[in-house]
Subunit: 340 residues, 2 copies
């Protein structure tokens, strides 16, 4: 089942892909990738392997792309600063994935076996710490205290988000507000910081920093909500993971929050058994999808994502038309159109 | 110009008024009103007059109604506790209005001359403080530490919201996120607290408290956004103030945030002149409305409000069907349908 997303009124989404954005920052991203490779090196055995395992496994590198694009949007003239901050952002992201897998006891990540399975939990935690350390060293090299402030604050907020999620974990009675607070911290904060350091590097005034931050924050929320919907309705190809992973891991995401609240007592008992107690039986994923469909939980998750997408779009409205701005707006459509 | 709000898909809004809600809590509200009158008394000259001036001037008393209704929704059996907390909530609201008028240098409130014009700024500030004090005394009499915690935290957040607004005031480059943070604190927090103390009094478990809090918070945001839209498009009758008041006071509300960002340089110069510099000339309000229309700023403000309304609706989905639940859901429709 795909999630049926009605076309947004009057706004053709024909070209909702990331190609323009990727092409615009291709030179910078080549340098980011070189930097990433050179900074995963260490004399200490195992660290380079563990770090490279996940880094080499692909992923869209959306966050560093956003850093470069937002710097470009604000007229930043291609020094090494944006490249190093973009690489820092990707290291921060990779570090949280390594730590996440340990916390969630995940076996798979990006279609391959998780680092913690191959090298153990300790190595995964420490390789994550190593990458975080490298990220901070690169930020210091760039020498912008404001950018350091933004990215180190994000690191703290992300950690807080993880802890919030631990507390909320497996609680089917989580409210939508509580869930939003978690994904704001866990996911959207890094998107926001990745975007905000662009105008900071370009030494642009506060309204442009606030605009990029707001764009990133709301794009990040929309991105996560669509991921949540895809986990129950997409194909593995567009998802980078398997349909039903969230369900099997007992993750409380927005579709579940909505369906649980809207459901009958029998349905709530089903969610408690499968997600809270982890007693999943054959056919339960199909039942889950049927219940989600019954309550329009996936459609309404996409509808909520669309709201945040609209906010991200308006955040950039301050900037004059440019190819970079157009590509950043297209990235919003891309995020939401994934749910087609 | 009315704001044209398309009917929400499949959800008839024929009976979008507050009558059911008002009728359900009519007995309780009669006692709240008696309590309010008895607690505005003071030996000190002027305090009763200043306090009563605003209290007697009407207003929907939506916040204490929500306290009573949420207590009722959670099976609270009509003691004096809910009545006293409801009166406290209304006193907190009245105190912030008295203080607001001083901060904003407003001349009118609820269609009559503001207390500060009649008795001076000092008396308005101090009468507000008196009401806040009385609110806390009533809360203490109720004896629920949890309710005291919720309402006193709200008082702090509201004050923070006022200060945030001072900082953001007259800044046409305010982002939507920044504006939302202000109205969350200034307006929605008291709605949230008013609702949350209901299940607290009824000694219901945390999920019901969180649900009522979330309902109140999102209803409060939707309520404020519709108020913002009505200020440029409604009739004075439904608004309780005159169309264009926000404009004349240079208030940056969501319609302005959207139109400013979406507008041309000429239009931005217009908003800076009128709102930031306060140089308003004849015909400017009409121009403002034309620009807002050009960018669909009012329609999209209502669209945003609808998103928060949907969140408020889902927050209550946990509760079984009851007349009180139905009336609380109707209150959401009422809030949004005001923009018709």
């Amino acid at each position: 089942m795909g999630v049926v997303v009605p076309m947004e009124k009057g706004r053709p989404q024909a070209e909702a892909d990331l190609n323009d954005l990727v092409a615009l920052v291709a030179d910078g991203m080549a340098r980011v990738n070189t930097t990433i490779l050179s900074r995963t090196g260490s004399e200490v055995t195992m660290i380079p392997e563990v770090a490279s395992h996940l880094i080499a496994s692909g992923g869209k590198r959306l966050r560093p792309i956003l850093t470069l694009a937002c710097a470009d949007l604000c007229g930043y003239q291609g020094g090494e600063g944006a490249v190093k901050l973009a690489a820092s952002v990707e290291f921060m992201h990779t570090a949280t994935l390594l730590h996440d897998d340990v916390v969630d006891e995940s076996d798979m990540r990006r279609g391959q076996v998780a680092a913690r399975i191959k090298w153990g939990n300790e190595a995964s935690v420490l390789a994550g710490d190593f990458l975080l350390g490298q990220a901070f060293r690169m930020m210091v090299e760039v020498g912008s205290l404001r950018a350091l402030d933004i990215l180190s604050a994000a690191a703290t907020v992300i950690a807080e988000g993880e802890v919030m999620q631990l507390t909320a974990a497996k609680n089917t009675e989580t409210t939508e507000d509580e869930y939003l607070a978690v994904i704001r911290a866990k996911t959207a904060e890094l998107f926001a910081a990745a975007c905000e350091v662009g105008p900071v590097l370009a030494e642009r005034p506060r309204p442009e920093q606030a605009a990029c931050r707001s764009y990133g924050m709301n794009l990040g929320i929309a991105f996560q909500l669509i991921d949540d919907a895809l986990d129950y309705g997409g194909s593995s190809a567009e998802l980078g993971k398997n349909v039903g992973d969230d369900f099997r891991e007992g993750k409380i995401t927005l579709p579940i929050v909505l369906a649980f609240r809207r459901g009958s007592e029998d349905e709530r008992a089903f969610w408690r058994r499968t997600l809270q107690e982890g007693a999943i039986e054959d056919g339960d994923l199909e039942t889950a999808r049927t219940i989600l469909r019954r309550h329009r939980a996936l459609e309404d998750t996409v509808e909520r994502a669309r709201h945040y997408g609209a906010m991200a779009r308006d955040a950039l409205a301050l900037f004059p038309q440019s190819p970079t701005k157009a590509a950043l707006l297209q990235a919003i459509d891309f995020c939401i159109a994934r749910a087609h």
